[in-house]
Each structure stands twice: as structure tokens, then as C-alpha cells.
Amino acid sequence: MAELNTAEGGNKKHGGKVRSKKMSTKVDLTPMVDLAFLLITFFMLTTTLNKPNAMELNMPKKADVPEDKIPINEELLLNIILDKDNTVWWYEGQTANNLKKTIFANEKGIRDIIYWKQRKLAKDYGNKDTMIVLIKATDDANYENMVDALDEMDITGIKRYAMQDVQAPELEAIKNGGTGTTVPE
């Protein structure tokens, strides 16, 4: 049916009149279909890959009215401060007197600290989702650090977190070098 007939010199030996052989007009379209589907796949893949991924970020509205300010339990707080050269400082509660230094890493880094705090809250309060993380960044940090920190929230499943400005006592504590680098077990 769909086959390309190739001319075979069958008539030649009769000599004289050269009769042009009737050729089938049908061409095998299989390679063409192959090519078309290949191109389709290419276009489909490239168009969907081109759409950027995005993460959502909600910023709190400024609470001007005192009633909007809800007091929270200090023990639920974990503060993460992003600093230059991809370093991360962290402390619990509201006062930065036990500031510790760490890094972004899958193990022995900020992620293990978040897991540790979650375990602790699960034990003390029966629910790890009570945890609140405050992410702060000094002016020396870069944008990648911020995205990494927010990504860390997604990975560890933190439900309540916020971006905040870094406070003066924290900057002071960073200048003093913190109180160590141990990751609690």
C-alpha cells in the first residue's frame, strides 16, 4: 500500500522504446510522522518547562491597633538570623543571649535544629505545629539565603513563620560571636 516503488531495470533488455514505468504515487509517511511527533514532544516539553516556579510569601499587615497584637508564648519561638557568607544564627525565645551559629545543610545544620525544636514542642505541647519561626536577615545576607530559609520552612513543614527586621540586640549578639555552634540532639 504505502510503499515506495523503486525502478528496477526490467524492461531494458527489450531495447528500442524506453517505456517509463508507472510508479506508485504513494510515499511511506512513517518517517515524517516520526519527525512530527518528535517535534511535538520537544515543543510540549520546552513550553511547560519555561513557566517559572514560584514560592508564596505572605507578609503581615502592620498592627496599628493594640487589639491586633496577640501575645505569644516565648517557648514556641525559634529565631533564625541570616548573615553574610551563608552563615545562620539561631536562638530560642525572645532574648538573643543564647545565640548559636550554624549553616544551611541537610544534616547538622539549620534543618536539624528545626526538627529538634519540633520534637521538643511535640513532647511538651503535644503538637509540633505550635512552633513559630521568625526569619530575620542582616543587610549582609543575600537573596539566596532568604529563599533557602523559606524553602527550609516548606521542607520541615513549619506552618507559622514570618519575615522580620533584625533587632539591635541581635546585631550586638552577632558581633560578640554567639555562644557556640553545637547542634542539639
Binding site: 510503499e3 507578609m59 536577615a137 543587610d139 533557602d148 521542607i155
Partner: protein, 213 residues
Amino acid sequence: MPKVKIPRKSTSIDMTAMCDVSFLLLTFFMLTSKFRPAEAVPIDIPNSRSQIKLEGVMTISVAKDGAAFFSITKREDRIALLDRMTIKYPQLKNLTNNQKTAFVGLDMFGFSIADMPQILALNPDQYKAYKQKGIPMDSSNCELGDWILQTRYVDQKMKVAIKGDKTSSIKAIKQVIYALTEKADIHKFNLITTLSGNSATTTTEPTESTETK
């Protein structure tokens, strides 16, 4: 009883119909797909696990040096936006039609209102060579906030995305966030990231912390 003879059929099928369909699909995909607009500055975006897809957004890009650029995808919106900005900044009334078309043709821009007439008068080659300084976004002169706010008036549902370079300083990002929250009263926005290569290792991470009591 006579034997039923099964006629021998050729195994080759007519490919014409399939070829038609596949080329139809091919043309469809080629025509519907859009080219990525040329970027005024190269931006190396950070990685994350997030996989939310965005469409029809206004994008605020932050370059390595902290300069902010603004872009919206729809051309009709750009015309409306320029009209709204003219109300806010009367000096834009002096723009010629040519300058207006030049503005609508820009996919991404990063210049102040004061520089605008002069930059829009450049021809494409000169424009390419011109290094844009970024839209002013200090708290005293926050033109970026006005661009965002006026775009929101043009299309209230348009989402906002921040596209920052990995190495850009947090200071610039904070200024953009300031413009969004304080000037335009937008508290929900997106950060554009690429899917990280080590996502497979991070998704298998959750250990004992996933158990809830």
C-alpha cells in the same frame, strides 16, 4: 462446508491521516508557544522545592547590583498603565506617540520617570547598549510603589512576583517588599525560583518530626 478463506492483508497502514494529525498538533504548539522575552539584565534565580506555576503576573526583577526592573506580560495592560502613570506624573504628558509605542514594546524596564523620555527616544541598538539604572525605590522617592499600585488599578487580580538574583543583597529585596507592603498594600506575593536539583534528596528527608500526636 466450504472452507472460509481469510484474505491476506498488507501489514502496512496508510500513514497520511496520522501525519496530518501530528502536523496539526505541531503547528498548534508552535503557534501558541511564546518566545521568552529578552531580558534587560541576566538574572540567576535561586533554587527551591516549590512548584507553584505562575501566569499573568507583574514581575519585579532585582539584578545583581540591586537595581529593580518592572515587567508585565500583556501589552494592553501596558498602555493602560502608562495612561494611569501620566495622571500621577504629569511630566509624562509630553511623551510623543513614538515614545509611547516604544514603552509598550518594552518587556522589562528599569529607569526612573525623569529618564523615561530620553530613554524611550533611543533606537533599539542604542537601547540595548544603554545600562539601565533601575527604578528608584527609596522610601523618599518610591516610583516602584507607584508602578505596582497603578498596575493593580489596571488589573486588580494581577499577582506579584519577585524575581531576584541569587547574589543580590537582601537590602534591595527589603526595599521591594517595602514598596509592595507599604506603598501598594500588597501583602501576598510570590518569589520566582527554579526547581532545585537535589529535590529528590530533600523530599525523602522527613523523619520522626512528621509524626503528630
